[in-house]
Amino acid sequence: MKNKIKIFRAMHNLTQDHLAQAIGVNRQTILAIEKEKYVPSLDLAFKISRYFGVNIEEMFIFTEKTPTITET
């Protein structure tokens, strides 16, 4: 799962520590998500997206190809 957290952080001039404190996680978790080592839960993904005031799909990009309902 790709994400744009780093870009949004840079746009808002935020450090990983600031973002982590704001959404109630460890700084290492933000780093792990940014480096795509950890896929956040839906809850955390929504928290991050809402913190920057964007939709979840603007922040996280689901890369795996899954069949849609029209294809099946």
Binding site: G24, N26, T29, K37
Partner: protein
């Protein structure tokens, strides 16, 4: 309570438990160490809830969860192996006369050996847990370097 104070307290509890363990061995009674172990665990749990500068987020929980699951999976296999053998000796099922004409007396495991086996199992569980914890912490980006 600060995180470092908590770690210091855990160290003190471990040291006291070790001393009580020694004392229990001297007295040949396990009651002291068993009670002390329960009290020690309760004390650590209570102290952990008072730590203010520690955040247990979902990634930490996932690492702990995965390490625990994998440890238990391996532990169950080893424990069942040992238990099956012990139960077989306990039941002492008669052997088939055609296959083995000579009946030999059942091997009874001495308590000291049982203790060593349990110690081995306990040590194995601790090493497995620590190993899996390091593995999953690495997998979920715990040791990633930061360019900030």
């Amino acid at each position: 309570m600060k995180k470092n104070t908590f770690y210091f307290l855990v160290g003190c509890v471990a040291l006291v438990l070790l001393l009580i363990f020694w004392y229990s061995i001297e007295l040949h009674t396990s009651l002291f160490i068993e009670l002390a172990f329960i009290i020690g665990v309760i004390l650590i749990i209570l102290a952990r809830s008072k730590v203010t500068d520690r955040v247990d987020d979902e990634r930490d929980i996932k690492i702990t969860e995965q390490a625990t699951i994998r440890t238990m999976q391996i532990f169950w296999i080893v424990f069942c192996l040992f238990s099956i053998g012990a139960v077989m000796e306990l039941l002492h099922i008669p052997e088939f006369p055609r296959l083995s004409p000579s009946m030999h007396p059942p091997v009874i495991l001495p308590p000291r050996l049982m203790g060593y086996i349990q110690l081995g199992l306990l040590s194995m569980m601790i090493f497995l847990y620590v190993g899996f914890r390091i593995y999953y912490a690495k997998k979920y980006g715990e040791f990633e370097t930061d360019e900030e």
